[in-house]
């Protein structure tokens, strides 16, 4: 049944489920293509966060003496770099996913949400490949998870995914009409680590500033992961709730924008 676009955008879960094999294939394609024709291949998934972390550790840890809280600084940093790397790849990938698959969008039908969705799943692979670095550092500095709270780690990763996907829905729809998005994203991703507590422990800064940063869901993600996996102090509940709230607003707002402009993607892309 083909009708004019409905006024009320919603995510058709049944349809997404029907197209799950295509989602798998798109994820598989992006993972395979990512490392084809690179000399070091999957090693990049380790080299990039390690290099970033080393720079942070030297500049912010040694020269600037950023507050680390109770966790040793290198572990703290790599624990922030990995999820931030995931977020950055997810956001950039999903925002450009529609325009980057122009041929598919104009030639075949499938729920367009698959494209940003695939783009936030693909960087998971990098994240898992990068995990041994974190575990090695944890072993060197003898920083082990405190207990049962380690089970919360996937939940906080999920929060990063929801945040990136929400922003990705919004930005990819915007990018269909305005290619400005391509230029906005790198600038935004440059300041994100500073605003998310990647190279410092957020509970060490003045509370007023902690409140401001709490509107960035990635602050909650990183603080939460450090608590769950690195035995850091538990994150402040209210400020975490603010982060989760912002993430959900972003997700549903982004989804609404995406779904309402979806019928015109093929016409305007």
């Amino acid at each position: 049944m083909i009708k004019p676009a409905s006024r009320w955008p919603h995510l058709d879960i049944a349809e997404l489920w029907h197209y799950r094999e295509l989602l798998q294939t798109l994820v598989w394609r992006d993972v395979v293509v990512r490392y084809k024709q690179t000399f070091l291949g999957v090693a990049w998934a380790i080299l990039v966060p390690v290099f970033t972390a080393v720079v942070y550790i030297i500049v912010f840890g040694k020269f600037a003496n950023f507050p680390a809280g109770e966790v040793s600084y290198p572990v703290l940093v790599i624990g922030g770099v990995l999820p931030m790397q995931y977020f950055a790849s997810s956001l950039a990938g999903s925002s450009l996913s529609l325009a980057g698959n122009l041929q598919l969008v104009t030639k075949v039908y499938f729920p367009r949400a698959l494209l940003p969705l695939a783009s936030v799943i693909v960087p998971m692979v990098d994240l898992f490949v990068g995990l041994p670095v974190l575990i090695a550092l944890m072993w060197i500095y003898e920083t082990w998870p405190g207990g049962i709270e380690v089970l919360m780690a996937p939940v906080f990763l999920g929060l990063a995914l929801v945040t990136a996907l929400g922003a990705g829905f919004f930005l990819s729809a915007l990018n269909v009409r305005y290619r400005d998005v391509r230029y906005m994203i790198p600038v935004f991703l440059q300041v994100m680590p500073l605003l998310s507590g990647v190279m410092y422990a957020v509970e060490e800064i003045p509370v007023k500033w902690q409140w401001i940063l709490s509107f960035n869901p990635m602050t909650a993600v990183i603080a939460g992961l450090r608590w769950a996996a690195l035995d850091a102090n538990p994150p402040n509940l209210e400020r975490t709730a603010v982060g989760v709230g912002v993430a959900l607003v972003l997700f549903f707002g982004g989804l609404a924008v995406f779904r309402s402009s979806e019928p015109r993607f093929a016409d305007t892309i």
Binding site: M1, T25, V33, L104, T106, K107, V108
Partner: protein, 419 residues
């Protein structure tokens, strides 16, 4: 019979402003919005064009429908709506069955991936299940003829290999309803023939096909029915041969006679000039339509200007988009050089010979310059006429009233032995 596709009042509009702003920057849009807000620019300026206007039709299960029309008539928009790539502005369409579309072979092929990997990728994009692809992989590989290179990245393929692999995947895709757009425009003659053959197979296997094409001959051959779109509207709907014939006549702008009064500008060279070409009945009168049971005369009037090589009047007769035959007058009178003067030559196409539909005629006067024919005059689509069958049971189709294919339809003598 069950209806596979039901389309009712389907309309699709584009705002021209929207098309233009498609690649605009945010700044432009913001400044437009600001101007509109302050009243410096009127939003009514945005013009609306209707790519589809109130299109309705229904297609029965197992039938093949051709969609023809000029560029910009709305053919591709219709297909995009039916495949759900874009949504209609008004109206509705109901499709019963699993839909597959071939809007372009090789959609989504990734150059970095190997042939095998691309089979899986392309198959999934077309809508095949993974299990299905695994089962068909050997067939697809064999059909493509690039088995040896299945583990080579597609970027190292020649364009021919690329197309063959892409088509092999598409050919093994078996939806209940197949929507095809211009796949035949790519590839060489052999490839096109294979595409057509494959579509014929799909159709004979009882699947529903919607075929959008500029290749009128293919539409006439393959489809049971056709609709002609013009300016977003269905202007004709009927048996594919009839619709193609009607379309050809409007496109070619031909009629049953053509005359050139001024010898200087008349077609021809220093030896021969054409004066007129006419289609006549047995009574010698020019006519547009002929009963299939009567003979048709094609008359060429021309002058020979000087002594020269022996010349021959020649015709090419095209029926339903297919060349029915070429014919030359090979009588003894044309074996010797023709003295200068006026000539009128008429070729008689026998009754019960051409099939129904539009017939166009290319007229020429040639001389034989072995191994070539030298055309002194050649007029493409000089005249056209319609053949119709009043269905009285005494033509080659007997009492059958359905579709009857072919460029010609002779009434033959059959010998029958009963034993």
């Amino acid at each position: 019979m069950a209806v596979a596709i039901q389309v009712e009042g389907l309309s699709k509009s584009y705002r021209i402003g929207e098309l233009q702003a498609a690649y605009g920057t945010l700044r432009e849009s913001l400044s437009h919005a600001a101007k509109r807000f302050t009243g410096q620019e009127h939003s009514a300026r945005q013009e609306v064009i209707w790519a589809l206007k109130d299109v309705s039709f229904s297609l029965e299960e197992g039938k093949a429908l051709g969609v023809i029309g000029r560029n910009g008539a709305g053919k591709s928009t219709l297909l995009k709506v039916l495949t759900r790539i874009t949504t209609p502005t008004r109206g509705r369409a109901e499709i019963r069955g699993r839909v597959g579309s071939l809007l372009e072979v090789g959609t989504g092929f990734h150059p970095e991936l190997t042939g095998r990997e691309n089979i899986f990728l392309n198959g999934a994009i077309l809508g095949m299940k993974r299990k299905e692809i695994v089962a068909k992989l050997p067939d697809i590989a064999e059909f493509s003829g690039v088995e040896k290179f299945l583990d080579t990245p597609v970027k190292r393929y020649s364009s021919g290999m690329h197309v063959r692999l892409a088509f092999a995947v598409a050919a093994h895709f078996e939806p209940e309803i197949m929507l095809v757009d211009e796949v035949l425009s790519v590839g060489d003659a052999e490839f096109q023939a294979r595409c057509l053959g494959r579509m014929e197979d799909i159709h004979t296997a009882g699947r529903t096909v919607v075929f959008v094409s500029h290749q009128l001959q293919a539409v006439a051959q393959l489809c049971d029915r056709a609709i002609l779109l013009d300016d977003g509207q269905v202007v004709r709907d009927g048996p594919s041969e009839d619709v193609v014939a009607g379309y050809l006549q409007t496109v070619t702008g031909t009629s049953s006679s053509q005359t050139w009064d001024d010898e200087e500008s008349a077609p021809g060279d220093d030896l021969v000039r054409l004066h007129s070409v006419r289609v006549t009945g047995a009574d010698g009168e020019t006519a547009e339509t002929f009963d299939v049971r009567e003979p048709v005369g094609i008359e060429l009037a021309f002058s020979v200007l000087r002594d020269g090589p022996p010349i021959l009047p020649k015709l090419k007769v095209v029926s339903g988009g297919m060349i029915a035959f070429n014919t030359m007058d090979v009588a003894a009178r044309w074996r010797e050089p023709s003295p200068p003067g006026e000539y009128v030559a008429t070729a008689w196409i026998p009754a019960n010979f051409l099939n129904e539909g539009l017939v166009t005629v290319d007229a020429a006067v040639c001389s034989i310059d072995s191994p070539k024919l030298h055309h002194h005059v050649s007029v493409h689509e000089a005249v056209s006429f319609h053949i119709h069958d009043p269905l009285e049971g005494d033509s080659a189709r007997g009492t059958f009233t359905g579709q009857w294919r072919g460029a010609v339809r002779p009434l033959l003598d059959w010998t029958v032995e009963e034993g």
